[in-house]
């Protein structure tokens, strides 16, 4: 019945927007502690260096997450946060809005809504152990300052890379990467 549906937030819908009360619980479980405490003062948006030059509005992200508006996961601006944590340090409710954004990005990643630029960084780590691997010009610069061509990391000891890939596999990231790479071709 429609009236019962309105009382049950699980079925609450306005226009095309679904309201999912579990979204904010997921955000909190993934590190966005106390996100439900947000009282919309806007200190976050006012402090945001990226908000001054883009469509990212941290207060709006927090509101949408609290209302359970899952379309926040499709917003390309969700990926504009530089994670500078200025909003989090200034929040009068001590909410880690940055961590709430990171949590929303985690959920978006599971739904394969993560930008390919992120998947590429994962690919580099999976292949070399480094997000930014060495190159030939840099090897020469290393030798010039008295260092070996490669650092004593996974670059010198690639046998450690299999452990990194095992972690990517058991956390499900490897599968997401493979599927997204296949779909983008």
């Amino acid at each position: 019945m429609a009236s019962e549906g309105m009382r049950d937030p699980k079925h609450y819908q306005l226009g095309k927007t679904q309201f999912d009360p579990d979204l904010i619980k997921e955000v909190e479980a993934l590190g966005g502690k106390n996100a439900q405490m947000c009282y919309q003062c806007g200190t976050c948006t006012a402090s945001c260096p990226m908000g001054q030059r883009s469509g990212l509005r941290v207060r709006t992200v927090m509101r949408k997450a609290n209302l359970g508006m899952r379309d926040v996961l499709d917003d390309p601006d969700l990926w504009l946060c530089t994670t500078c944590y200025t909003c989090s340090d200034r929040c009068p409710r001590r909410i880690m809005a940055t961590d709430a954004i990171i949590a929303l990005r985690n959920i978006a990643t599971r739904e394969k809504k993560v930008p390919m630029s992120m998947i590429k960084i994962m690919g580099a780590i999976s292949k070399t152990g480094h997000g930014v691997p060495n190159n030939e010009a840099n090897m020469k610069n290393r030798v010039k300052v008295g260092l070996p061509e490669n650092p004593p990391t996974t670059h010198t000891y690639p046998e450690y890379i299999k452990d990194i890939n095992k972690i990517l596999e058991v956390t499900g990231l490897l599968k997401i990467r493979e599927e997204m790479e296949a779909e983008s071709q």
Binding site: S54, W79, L80, T83, D89, I125, H130, N134, V145
Partner: protein, 294 residues
């Protein structure tokens, strides 16, 4: 002599080796040995990797920490991004048994277990809190008198403040004191604590917006009369150094403001030559700086 496992990360060893070399050389003056850390990987990049999966981020960070635990060595590092990944992983896994259990269940797949037996320190923290500005000052052979330094702390050294030990992230002083110990002047500039713009995966996602933030910082630094930018993060370093080339191409703004990591500035003050500090590998020429201090 205090020994640390030297966690290199990616950008320092693979783009700015002078930062790596200068850290090792300058630390020896204070009886600190930064030793090879075998098998370490990317921290992994907190903004980019944490954004995909926080548990995988913590587990990959913990893998690096576990390697050092096996050798019984504390970790020293020179990058704010690495600091966020490894300091927070170490701190959170020590403090939160449920999180530790979760991450250890991931690590069990590679036969690793996080013990919580070592410390993770940023070298700037070691220099300030263990060595101290006075001893840093005593190591100076070429005082950098008259040099106007625009300090860039970088975000993840200080923030989130509840997950750090440095106190307020609004007006910190310790880095300024370490620069002034070398005889240089730390200048004030508008929005000094603002982000460089590169983090969170934004530099690779929307470079124009990332550079727009850097451009504002560079403008503010130049307006305040900076001779050089000094940072403690190779990723901020790359954004502010190579970023100047990209900003020139994209927006037409030219600064030619040299960028040094603190360890490189310290090396210059300790009398090392620019080549051994890798300054010639920077995108923006350091010649005007050398002319001023040598």
């Amino acid at each position: 002599m205090k020994e640390y496992n030297f966690f290199l990360g990616c950008i320092a060893p693979n783009r700015y080796p002078g930062i790596e070399a200068s850290a090792v050389k300058t630390s020896r003056k204070f009886d600190i040995e930064l030793r090879d850390f075998k098998g370490a990987s990317c921290c992994p990049a907190p903004g980019a990797f944490g954004s995909m999966d926080v548990n995988a981020w913590l587990a990959l960070g913990a893998r690096n920490i576990c390697l050092s635990e096996k050798e019984g060595k504390d970790i020293a590092l020179i990058c704010n991004g690495c600091y966020k990944s490894l300091f927070e992983a170490n701190h959170r896994l020590k403090a939160d048994p449920a999180m530790r259990e979760k991450v250890n269940s991931i690590l069990a797949n590679i036969d690793y277990e996080f013990q919580g037996s070592v410390e993770v320190r940023h070298l700037i923290d070691i220099l300030y809190n263990d060595v101290g500005p006075e001893k840093v000052k005593e190591s100076v052979e070429v005082p950098l008198t008259g040099l106007n330094v625009a300090i860039h702390y970088g975000c993840h050294l200080l923030k989130p403040k509840f997950d750090r030990t440095f106190g307020s992230s609004e007006r910190p002083r310790f880095f300024d004191e370490l620069v002034e110990a070398l005889g240089a002047t730390s200048i004030d500039y508008k929005e000094k604590m603002m982000c460089c713009g590169a983090g969170g995966g934004v530099r690779s996602y929307k470079m124009d917006l990332a550079l727009d933030i850097a451009n504002e910082k560079l403008y503010n630094m130049t307006q305040a009369g900076a001779d050089v930018i000094v940072d403690v993060c190779p990723f901020c370093h790359l954004q502010l150094d190579r970023g100047q080339v990209e900003i020139k191409e994209k927006f037409g703004d030219v600064y030619n403001l040299p960028v040094l990591h603190y360890n490189q500035l310290l090396g210059m003050a300790q009398g090392m030559n620019p080549e051994e500090l890798g300054l010639d590998a920077h995108e923006i020429s350091v010649e005007p700086l050398l002319a001023k201090i040598l």
